[in-house]
């Protein structure tokens, strides 16, 4: 039977197992919206297209499935760019559908025309302009395949209006044929053996774990491998949750705002095993002094990540989960040798324990609320429920990373690569859609929350009981911190004394609002917020000029930290 392009899109989504779509309508996609109620997929109407993409992204990070967004042409499409770039930098699988003017008008500066395929080429894993309805099923099939396989990423499909109206005989392909796309999944056995041999010789080994471990669902095997070999584990911002931070072997996060022990352990390591990480400059600091004595092993599904910034001695291209599984098999086969190895580096672990005692993550409690204390209290009150913690960007993000102990993968949703203020709230809505019964928290700054604050309406419309914790320091705090430390306190354009009354604002939207100004109110206010079955904004008026420590100044080696 013949179907219209609009029907084909929706039917194909169903076949791909897509349950929800975040979107915003307009003229170019009106035919698709017209069909929408006839299909099982549930649509969430956001209040800004950027939020649609972030919500799809939050859904994808929380579930591991492909997130889907749908917007109209022109401004609808251009509004997705920040969301796409955010997902691209963090390798999040998305398929984003944009409307487009009819094929006959493309290139004519037609009303609401934008060359979105051209605009998003560098911030998508791949993108398509559909030129005929006949190509549509194949393109959708390919898009989902590309988004979720290899190193995941966002794929955009641009849908001219006539393609949505035209009809063709619908057949959804079972397989894809992409001669130029064949990501390596299985690690090379020879390289895996070589890596294990190098590990066996290590006296000061460290696992350096990035977001790839989460994306490939490798947390469990990683934890087993590290525990068996007694190798300490540090994670990047993107890797939080891949290894339980409550574990004895956890070093916490490394890098610019990493822990003292993580940065020291990496610097002094003799074998550094990078697992689904990409040696980002926020992690390595000054690159020629990063792990200077270490033999570096690197497993990553993306060959371009290997030896991009740091020369790798033993590269393994492949899926992190698959490679670690295979390593564990060898470890089991040679259990005596590896047991002897595990017992051989007590002095290294003792050294690390000493570093741990020397400079713990800390802050000084005062009469005014310290933002770290808020995060610590959230952790204490909620850790057992394994909530999903989202963040905005800035100091709030770093404190959320430092003062909450993540123990499970996909419970930490944060824009790492792009550092997108305004990401956290819509991402939290996406996560809450995926898990209606779990506690979802957005740890926010007073600046960031105002970047997508309109999504309060979405939260209320769909009764998504997300808890937004605003650490209101009256500043664009992270920039202010840099100005304080490196620009002689020249606070140019970072004071934000004019903010809305967040409590009233939340109430005006039909959500709940709470505020606390004194440390002794923090716990009770949080408990109250978590007990309200509604979206809640909780404003904590916190110390204005608190800084995030440790801090490695840009361009310095990570062993040179400014401490509290």
């Amino acid at each position: 039977m013949k179907k219209t392009g609009a029907q084909i899109v929706l039917q194909s989504l169903q076949i791909e197992g897509v349950k929800v779509v975040f979107g915003y309508p307009g003229g170019a996609v009106i035919n698709l919206y017209d069909e929408l109620p006839n299909y099982e997929v549930k649509h969430y109407l956001v209040r800004h297209e950027q939020a649609a993409v972030h919500a799809a992204d939050g859904y994808a990070r929380a579930t591991g499935e492909v997130g889907v967004a749908l917007v109209t042409s022109g401004p609808g499409a251009t509004n997705t760019v920040t969301g796409l770039a955010t997902a691209y930098m963090d390798s999040i699988p998305l398929v984003v559908f944009t409307g487009q003017v009819p094929t006959g008008l493309i290139g004519n500066d037609a009303f609401q025309e934008a060359d979105i395929v051209g605009i998003t080429r560098p911030c998508t894993k791949h993108n398509y302009l559909v030129k005929s309805v006949k190509e549509l099923p194949r393109i959708i099939k390919e898009a989902f395949h590309i988004a979720r396989s290899g190193r995941p990423g966002p794929v955009l499909i641009d849908l001219p209006k006539d393609v949505l109206v035209d009809t063709t005989i619908y057949e959804y392909p079972e397989t894809v044929s992409l001669p130029g796309y064949n990501p390596t999944f299985e690690g090379h056995p020879g390289q895996i053996r070589k890596a294990l041999k190098a590990l066996l010789k290590a006296k000061r080994p460290v696992f350096y774990v990035g977001g790839g471990a989460i994306l490939s669902d490798a947390a469990e095997v990683l934890t087993e491998l590290a525990t068996r070999l007694r190798i300490p584990v540090t994670t990047t911002l993107m890797g939080l949750g891949a290894f339980p931070e409550t574990h004895d072997l956890s070093l916490g996060m490394l890098g610019m705002h990493g822990t003292y022990r993580a940065n020291m352990a990496v610097t002094e390591s003799d074998v550094l095993f990078a697992i689904g990480a990409r040696f980002d400059d926020r992690v390595t600091g000054r690159i020629d002094e990063f792990a200077p004595d270490a033999k570096i092993i690197h497993v990553d599904v993306d060959p371009t990540s290997i030896s991009k910034n740091v020369k790798v001695h033993i590269p393994i291209v492949g899926d992190v989960h698959d490679v670690l599984d295979k390593m564990l098999v060898v470890v089991n086969e040679m259990s005596e040798e590896f047991q002897a190895f595990a017992d051989s580096h007590d002095d290294w672990l003792a050294r690390i324990a000493k570093w741990k005692d020397m400079h713990k993550l800390d802050y000084i409690q005062e009469e005014v609320i310290k933002p770290q204390y808020v995060v610590e209290t959230i952790c204490r009150l909620t850790r057992d429920q394994e909530p999903i913690i989202c963040t905005e960007v800035g100091q709030n993000q770093m404190w959320a990373a430092q003062f909450y102990d993540y123990t499970r993968p996909r419970t930490w949703l944060s824009s790492g690569g792009l550092g997108t203020m305004g990401y956290g709230f819509p991402a939290a809505l996406g996560a809450q859609v995926a898990f209606p019964d779990r506690l979802v928290v957005d740890i926010a700054g007073d600046g960031s929350i105002q970047m997508n604050i309109q999504e309060l309406a979405t939260a209320v419309q769909y009764q998504l009981p997300v808890k937004v914790i605003i650490l209101n320091n009256g500043y664009l705090g992270m920039v202010r911190q840099w100005q304080e430390l490196f620009f002689q306190k020249h606070y140019s354009a970072t004071e934000m004394s004019t903010a809305p009354d967040f409590v009233k604002l939340a109430e005006a939207y039909g959500a709940a609002g709470l505020r606390a100004t004194h440390p002794r109110e923090v716990e009770a206010t949080l408990k109250k917020a978590f007990s309200i079955d509604k979206p809640v904004f909780v404003e904590f008026v916190v110390a204005g000029e608190e800084n995030v420590y440790p801090m490695v100044p840009a361009g310095q080696p990570i062993s040179k930290m400014l401490l509290v």
């Binding site: 395929v117 051209g118 080429r121 560098p122 894993k125 791949h126 302009l129 030129k131 590309i146 992409l178 001669p179 130029g180 796309y181 993306d302 060959p303 371009t304 030896s307 991009k308």
Partner: protein, 169 residues
């Protein structure tokens, strides 16, 4: 160091801009780029001449391979290959210089394809080095215009078979 890189791509809308965008977006250098269909109209072949140390060229080939529409990437630099470019040169040939220029053309096995009162258009094919040498010897006569296709390259056959099988799977 100069590298000649061959790229087989799906002959699809927008592929050229994906490739040129990759070079500009990542700060890679393009000295020349040629593109045309192969014997299979579904596949095009590009030849890119780029400058960079080994690490940069390794990134370039990896990044090219990462593009969905790229089927194969060949770095010719360290293999036994031939490379050719075609160049048109308009050179002034006034008075007594005419014969001298014609002599040079013969030595380089170039061809005159247009002769006017004051200038000639010369066609020459050859390796990058030959083309540059030709320009050097013509320079004293007065070069008015140069237009070149850029380099295309191919590996030589080794022991009865092509060293790189370049047909798409």
């Amino acid at each position: 160091m100069k590298h000649v890189i061959g790229v087989l791509v799906e002959n699809e809308f927008g592929v050229l801009s994906r490739i040129s965008g990759l070079f500009s977006g990542r700060g890679f250098n393009i000295e020349s780029l040629t593109v045309a269909e192969t014997d299979d109209p579904a596949i095009s072949r590009m030849t890119i001449v780029t400058l960079g140390d080994d690490q940069i060229v390794e990134q370039i080939t990896k990044q090219l391979n990462k593009l969905i529409n790229v089927i194969k990437v060949i770095d010719f630099t360290n293999s036994d290959h031939v490379s050719r470019g075609l160049m048109l040169v308009k050179v002034s040939v006034e008075g007594s210089k005419r014969l001298e220029v014609l002599k040079l053309i013969e030595v380089f096995r170039a061809r005159v394809i247009d002769m006017a009162a004051k200038s000639a258009i010369i066609e020459i094919t050859g390796s990058d080095m030959k083309l540059r040498a030709f320009l050097d010897v013509l320079a004293p006569y007065g070069i008015k215009e140069v237009n070149s296709t850029g380099i295309v390259a191919m590996n030589r056959e080794v022991k009865g078979r092509s060293r790189h099988k370049i047909k798409a799977a």
